[in-house]
Each structure stands twice: as C-alpha cells, then as structure tokens.
C-alpha cells in the first residue's frame, strides 16, 4: 500500500454537516498542493442514518476509499458513530471526537442501550486521541451551528496545512455573514 498517503475518516449522523466539513477539508488539502480524493454516499443512506466520508491525500492517491485499518485519523462528530468505526483506525492512529450523544432509534424506543464510557474506550485504545466539547465551544463562538468548524479547528492541529489556507477554504465555503463567527469557532477548536 502506498505509504505516503494519509487517510482521514469522517463519521457521524446524517444531518450533522459531515459532507460540508469534508468539502472544506478536501479544499484545504488541494490548496496545500496535495492530490486529494474523497468518497461518500448520498440518498437512502443519508436519512438520519450513519454517515461516513473518506478523505485521502498525498502525492498520488488511487482508491478514494480508505483501506480497512489504515485510517490515520478518525474524525467523529458523534460518540457512538466514532466508536462504531474505530476498527478502521490504524494502530498508531488517533481519533478526534465530538463529545456528543445522539440516540439511534432503538435507543429512543427503549429497546437498546447506548454504549456507555465511549470517550474512555477511545482514549484507552488510541492514547493520542482527543475528545472535544464541540457544543460548548460553538456556544462560546456565538452560534451552535459552528460546531463543525470548531471540530475542524481541532483537527487542523494534526495536519500539515497552513492556517492561511484553512481561512481561504473557509472563505470559499462559508457565506459572508457567517464567516466571522466561523473563523472564531475555528480558532477556539484549534486551541483545544
């Protein structure tokens, strides 16, 4: 397998804005001069279901899908979904996970139990991981909807992308009137 390719797996729940986050991430990687590929699915799979987006970058990327067990970073927007895809993480990989719980239908109906202690399980197996209180920081930034930008800020810590390029990518994808709040959210996330 091409060793110089880096793999980021974004996971969460349909409706959380994962696809937009992976857009911004891919844009920033392209602007940094990398070959970039990303893969995801639309349609039936998106209706409140488990969502997954693969982002790969390096000098030359072939498969848009990350080979099993080769993810360098698992970027999770929700706890259970992050935990679900943990087996795809490389043994030296790290998870960057939003500390947010969204109940799946079976749990809402009282038929199944949400897995307890996910943050500890993640950091226990992958000690370089980070659990982020995205919602708290988004509230600090002034808008709960900036939670994904907060998370991107935290992720940015682990990637070789210039801060100016992140700002450029955000400007390209975020409407003018929300830009200032989003830049603030990004900085808060990066500071974690």
């Amino acid at each position: 397998m091409a060793s110089e390719v880096k793999n980021i797996l974004l996971v969460g729940v349909g409706g959380q804005g994962i696809l937009l986050a992976s857009e911004i991430l891919s844009e920033a990687l392209m602007l940094s001069g990398f070959d970039v590929k990303k893969a995801e699915v639309h349609g039936m799979a998106q209706r409140g279901g488990s969502v997954i987006s693969h982002v790969r970058y390096g000098e030359k990327v072939y498969s848009p899908i990350i080979p099993e067990g080769e993810a360098d970073i698992l970027f999770g927007f929700e706890l259970l979904e992050s935990y679900r895809y943990l087996p795809l993480l490389h043994r030296d990989g790290r998870a960057v996970v939003n500390n947010l719980r969204i109940n799946p239908p079976g749990v809402s109906l009282g038929q199944e139990n949400y897995v307890e202690g996910i943050p500890e399980k993640i950091t226990g197996h992958f000690p370089q991981s980070k659990i982020v209180d995205g919602m708290t920081l988004a509230r600090q930034a002034g808008d709960l909807r900036t939670v994904n930008t907060v998370l991107l800020g935290t992720l940015s810590h682990f990637l070789e992308i210039d801060e100016s390029i992140w700002q450029q990518a955000l400007k390209a994808r975020v409407p003018e009137r929300f830009l200032e709040t989003n830049l603030k959210a990004f900085a808060l996330g990066r500071g974690v």
């Binding site: 397998m1 091409a2 848009p64 080979p67 067990g69 679900r84 043994r91 139990n113």
Partner: protein, 588 residues
C-alpha cells in the same frame, strides 16, 4: 483553467459543457442526480427533468436527430425504463452526438438491485466508456460525444457510486461552441425504423462494433501501465484504483472503453503473463469475454460477484487473509438505520396503515422507509410505479374480505413516473384496491427535485402543475379524496372507509416535504412532554419520530421526551397521545 476538486457527477456535467452539449434531460436517481443539478448552471445548455427515463432518452434522441449534442443521465434501473428507445437508437445511430450516462450502484447504497449496466452495452450493442476518477469522468464525457459522431452511435458512459460521489482533482479545458448545424433533416433510411430500414441498419451496427474494437486497440484510453512483478491485471473503472492500491507492482491493462473490448490488445497483453487477474465489480463481463478468447484468467473465482469492491476486499481475495484490526468491539452496537425525518408528512399515513392492518404494496421513495419498525407498514417494494400493478394483481387472487386489506402507496413523483399506467389498468379492468398518493410536492429521496406535479422546472421556473385529482378522474377513478396527513384521525378514518369500498379509490395525502426548499416553513415551536401526564404507555414511540425518545430513568416506569432541537412542531404525537401529555413550547 485552474485545477479544481469535483465529484464524478460534477465532472460529467463539466465534460458535457466542454463538449458543446445543447440539450440535457434526466429523471433523478441516486447516484446520478447531481449531474443535471450541476448542468443547469451552464446557461448554454437546455437542461430539464423528464417524468421518467424513457421520456428523457426520447428527448435526447430528438435533440440528436435535430443535429445537437445531447446528454441523458439516469441510474442503472432507469435504463430498464429507457430500454425500449435505447435498443432502436442503437440502430438509428445519431446526428448530433448522444451520450447516455448510467450510474450503477454496487453495494445497493440507495437502490433495489445491483444490476451491472455493462450488460446493456453488450445487449444493445452500444459502446461504453468507463472512467476511474473525476478527471476521466470529465474527459471521457467529452470523448463520448466525439466517438458518438465518429462512429454514428449512441455512447454509454458508465459511472458507479464511487465515481459519481467521490471527489478528485480535475483539470477543466476550454469548451467547444455548441453546434450551429441544427435543423430538420429528412433521412428515413436512418431515422424511420420500419423492418425494411432496420434490417439494413443492423448490419451497420455489427460493422460499427467490429471497427471500433480494432480501432480501440491503439487508443490512449486503453493503456498498459508496466509494472515490475510477474502479475498481469485487466481492469477498468473504480476497480483500477483498487488494483493500483493493492498490487502496486503489477502490470495493468486499464480499459477506458469496456465495450467493445480491444481484443488484439488484450491478447498481446495476456500472452506475457502466466498469472492474470481480471478485477471488475459485479458481473464477470470482461472475464467471460477474455475466457472466450481462450485465455485463462483469475476472476470471479477469486473476487466477489456481489457488492462493491474495496481495497480491503481485493486484498483479501488475493491473499486469502483477513486484515486484523487494531481494535474490535466486544459488544453489539445499536444500529443507526435511516429513518423518516421529524415532521415527515408520510409518518401519520403509515401509522394509520399499521393500525388498520393493511397489506401495503409499496414503491420507491423516502416512504419506502415506512417498512422500518416501528411503523412496519410496507409489504412489497419492487420498482418505480410497481405498487399499483402489484395491488391489482394480488387483489385478483384474494377472497373479497381479504382483498379489502390491499392498499397501494406511491409518491407524487413516482406516480407520474410510471404509476399512472397502473391506475389506468386498475379502473379499466375493474380492480377494487385502494391507492394512496403521498403528495409531498417533490422527489424526496434523491434530494428534492421538481417534477411535473410541482409546477416548477429544473431551472426553478414556474410551469404548469399537473392536477393529480383531475388526472385520476380522467382515467376513470370515481372516488378521489384529498386530505392533510397531519390530520391523523381523519386520515385513518378515510383510509378505513375507502378500504371497505369495493371499487377503485384514490386518496391523495397532501403536505409538502419538511425539507421543501420553496415552502417557507412556518417552523412551528417544538413540543414537550408533561411528565405529570405521561403514563408511560409508549403510544407516541410507535410513530418512530427521531425527535421522541424514551427516558427509562424518568419517573417510576420511564417517560417519553421530545428533543427540542429536532422537533419541527408537526403535532402528530400530540394527536396520538390519549392523555394530553404533549404540549407546545411557547416561543423560546
């Protein structure tokens, strides 16, 4: 132009623009939908939604006969609907170039089967290009128009979910100007496929394929990438990327044109290797043809025929070994299947059908999720428009009492796609079943596209809005009722009454999709559960609303709770609750 990062679908739209396409037509279908949604941004192209794939191809054919380049796009199962014009288009050939994009869905991410469209290329004798990333999607679309005109044939461009919905870097080129040679040309020997004319054209079709197969041996899109090992691989499309990933040292024959195959090139390549793989998703199309040439290969005896390939699946097939993950779960995780949105107007209808113990023949759309528990109110789902014919057929073989239980459920877009024909049959042949048209004023599952029943075009222009009631009346339905599905009890009573009626009746449940782009959602305030009134009966949970959850720790027996961030205030839960436990939050 500067490089950019595009999805396969965006790149196909770009390629069509660069090729000077004048007309584009489609019916939405995952994973093909975004091609037309992107093409509409190029003002030089007349882009439109057709009511179904057959019509869209016929529109494309007309534009081609008029001298323009035309693009038609659909998902794999759409080709089944468009197959009738397709097979004869193969005989007529084209005037302006015509490219038919077909997007397959290996792994059935959002489909009812995983048919391999390459079979259609062979069956209809139509050449097929298969890109392996977005840049090739752009370039091959453009190339497709050239081949179409050069060989006087329609050309397939085959995508798959992993091409259409993956993004990679694209280098856009300068566009050509659209043809100025449009106009009426009479050429009956080519355009009028009566037996006498068509008989002759069949010879042209066979000669065209033979010529193309030889020509394609020397084209850059069918290329050999030399490696360092003693393994040879023949592959195409997304499988090429997995082959490069897993066998970086192999020699690879990458096919850009998957029909007709470049036999001379394949033979020259194959002779060099003792060990030859054909890596292809789904059916053994390349493999069987290579075997028929007398060449031994490893194909579907090694790689799976069902589902999509992935780097992991290819690696496992070759090595025979499972990857050992650094972490594996020691518990069973709760699933997170897709579900109807909070406030979805379909929810109350399926709740009613469940309570009435109806046998529901279903159809294709968001409402197929009515199958999922706790609604569990869909008993069949075959293809677009099938619900109505299925209801007619099943009613024929039931005793009168049981016959009453049969209800067909179909969305507005699907009804106009191919449901109306079934309804005509129902009346004409004296069926007794009940049809519910779930009219949410959009094509929901594919991401809310317009159709003739919404009164808007792809470009957002106001247009004539089909009168569904009038349409049903005109085919002879005598009992037509329109109701707001948020009126839960009234909807259920109406369904019960019409199920009893020994004649065809149509119920139109009309309420716009909660995500509707034009509906200025008077997003109502969310509801809450009054814990003092909640008796823990769990009736509201049977709605399967993502905004309602069960809190087992609350009270003695647990309580229902509303997630204020998800609730859109539709109020259906309030109507289900016999104890008045739901209240509306006042403001913030």
């Amino acid at each position: 132009m500067e490089k950019t990062i595009l999805s396969g679908n965006e790149a196909i739209a770009r390629g069509a623009f660069e090729a000077g396409v004048m007309v584009a037509s489609a019916y939405p279908g995952t994973p093909s939908t975004e091609i037309l949604e992107n093409i509409v941004h190029y003002p030089s192209i007349d882009a439109s939604w057709a009511p179904n794939e057959k019509v869209s191809l016929e529109v494309g054919i007309g534009a081609s006969f008029g001298g323009a380049r035309a693009l038609v796009t659909m998902k794999h199962v759409g080709v089944n609907v468009a197959a009738d014009p397709l097979f004869t288009l193969s005989y007529t050939g084209v005037r302006g170039g015509l490219v038919l994009v077909v997007a397959d869905d290996p792994e059935l991410h959002s489909s009812q089967n995983e048919q391999d469209s390459r079979n259609y290329a062979r069956f209809a004798k139509v050449p097929m290009l298969e890109p392996s990333d977005s840049e090739e999607a752009r370039a091959y679309t453009r190339l497709g128009f050239e081949l179409s005109e050069q060989f006087d044939t329609p050309v397939f461009l085959r995508s798959t979910t992993r091409i259409s919905h993956s993004k990679s870097i694209v280098f856009p080129q300068e566009p050509l100007s659209p043809s100025t040679e449009t106009g009426l040309v009479k050429d009956p020997a080519k355009f009028v496929m009566l037996p006498g004319n068509a008989r002759k054209r069949h010879y042209d079709v066979e000669a065209r394929l033979e010529k193309m197969a030889e020509w394609a041996c020397d084209q850059p899109f069918n290329r050999i990438e030399e490696g360092t090992s003693d393994i040879g691989v023949i592959t195409s499309g997304i499988s090429y990327q997995y082959a490069k990933e897993v066998l970086p040292e192999a020699h690879i024959l990458k096919l850009g044109l998957v029909h007709p195959l470049p036999k001379r090139l394949i033979r020259e390549f194959a002779e060099r290797f003792e060990w030859l793989y054909v890596i292809e998703e789904l059916d053994p199309i390349i493999e069987e043809q290579v075997r028929a040439m007398g060449i031994a290969v490893k194909g579907k005896d090694t790689f799976p025929i069902c589902g999509e390939l992935t780097p992991g699946r290819v690696a496992k097939a070759i090595s025979g070994k499972e990857a050992s993950p650094a972490f594996s779960h020691d518990e069973v995780l709760p699933n997170r299947p897709p579900s109807m949105c909070p406030g979805c107007p379909h929810r109350g209808v399926f709740f009613g059908l469940n309570r009435l113990k109806a046998f529901v023949t279903g159809d294709i759309g968001c409402y197929t999720l009515g199958f999922m528990p706790p609604l569990s109110a869909m008993d069949t789902c075959v293809c677009m428009g099938a619900s109505i014919g299925n209801a007619t057929g099943i009613s024929k073989v039931l005793p009168p009492e049981e016959r009453k239980r049969v209800v067909a459920v179909i969305g507005d877009s699907t009804f106009l796609h191919t449901g109306i024909n079934g309804l005509m049959d129902m009346v004409y042949n004296d069926s007794t079943a009940t049809v519910i048209i779930l009219d949410n004023s959009t094509t929901g599952m594919t991401g809310r596209q317009d159709h003739p029943g919404t009164g808007y075009t792809l470009g957002g222009e106001k247009s004539y809005q089909v009168d569904l009631e009038g349409l049903c009346r005109s085919v002879g339905v005598k009992h037509i009722h329109t109701i707001d599905p948020y009126d839960l009890d009234e909807t259920r009573d109406l369904i019960r009454r019409e199920m009893e009626r020994p004649e065809v009746s149509v119920i139109i449940t009309r309420r716009a999709c909660m995500l509707h782009k034009r509906d200025i959602l008077e997003r109502k305030p969310p509801l809450f559960v009054d814990p003092d009134k909640c008796t823990a009966c769990k009736a509201c949970l049977r709605l399967g609303c993502p905004a309602i959850s069960w809190e087992p720790e609350a009270g003695e027996k647990g309580k229902a709770q509303v997630n204020r961030l998800l609730c859109v205030g539709c109020g259906v839960c309030e109507k289900v609750c016999k104890f008045g436990a739901f209240g509306v939050c006042d403001g913030e």
